[in-house]
């Protein structure tokens, strides 16, 4: 699995965003940061809260100059119907059919034949700055991911559980 410091593999995949199909490539992103989160399947009873959770927070991430990308092994048709089922999704859902991107990121579950519940935050140079993977029954905390993005963008030393408005660590410490 990719860890901080690794490079996110290059990709160019079909995606659905706001009900429309388009192709998304990592080189085409113009934001400062990017979030690539994998989820196992469309039309599942475990995944929906995360996809909709990121959707509710997409404006907050955009305010932090951070693009959000979701990905699963389902095809573009499934993504379109799933996004409609969830009331519309305002960020791209990538169709990683066959799990090639998930494999390249080290988050393909060979037993279940789906992507794991994994998240990567990366910068303009495609360098991973944050990565996490969750058990199948544990939904991610989008609030935590947003906190990490804000902390990273502050450029400062942030103590544990730092949130905007909290004190930073001493400026004379190297990190």
């Amino acid at each position: 699995m990719l860890k901080p410091g690794d490079i996110v593999p290059s990709f160019d995949l079909p995606a659905v965003e706001n009900g429309r199909e388009r192709r998304i490539s990592i080189g085409g992103l113009d934001s400062e940061l990017g979030i690539l989160f994998f989820y196992p399947r469309d039309f599942s009873f475990i995944c929906p809260t995360e996809v909709t959770g990121f959707n509710k927070a997409v404006a907050s991430f955009a305010a932090e100059n951070t693009a959000v990308l979701g990905a699963s092994i389902d095809d573009i048709d499934s993504h379109r119907r799933w996004a409609r089922e969830l009331g519309g999704i305002a960020y791209p859902l990538l169709a990683d059919e066959g799990g090639k991107l998930a494999h390249a990121c080290g988050v393909f579950d060979d037993k279940e034949r789906t992507a794991m519940r994994a998240t990567f935050v990366f910068d303009r140079k495609r360098i991973v700055i944050f990565s996490q993977a969750c058990p199948i029954n544990v939904g991610r905390s989008i609030t935590e991911i947003l906190r990490v993005v804000r902390a990273y963008r502050s450029g400062r030393l942030c103590p544990a559980d730092w949130n905007p408005g909290d004190q930073f660590g001493p400026i004379d410490r190297k990190y």
């Binding site: 469309d42 039309f43 599942s44 009873f45």
Partner: protein, 216 residues
Amino acid sequence: MQDGVLTTAGVLAGLSGAVSDHSQVLLAALASTAAGALSMGAGAYLGTRAETEVLRGELERTRREIERAPYVAQEALLDQLEKEGLSREAGFRVVRLLSSSPQTLMTTAEEKVFGLAGGMLGNAALDGLVMGVAFVGGALIPLVPYLLIARTRPALLAALATTAIALFGVGYFEGWLARRAARWRSGLRFLAIAMGAAVAGYLIGLAISPLGATAG
């Protein structure tokens, strides 16, 4: 019932080949009927009881699991429906609909995913009683004519004739239930297999009859 018919006809045929005394054959057949009814009844009772206890335990364990983590049942049911040919999207809608009633979700998951069903819980006492009574009912078919006719050979022929008619009737009825066109074929097949067993019993009795003479 079929067991009762065949076992009793087999005993009558086998003993008639080995023993010439009509009343001795009849007595043995009656004893065999009683023993058969009791053993079949006891076997059915014990079998149903064991099966019910195991099934009840499995159902309780499954229900606790579903109550603890309903999403596991939802996902498992969704996977099962997909395996059975339903598209994932359609399966999702079905499971979501079922989820509006937790009880319905539970029983559907139990049946489709775990292969369990509350309806499979049997009544051991009833099964035992029915099995025993059915055995006796079947045994009476060859026993009654054997009882009414005093001489061994005609009595045996009459017993075998009523047995044959009954077996043909069972086979014919099976064909009727299965909606087969040639029901008489079902009847004949059933009869051939069953009577084969009875004839074999008679021949075995003939073969071992010298042992009885030697022991006497």
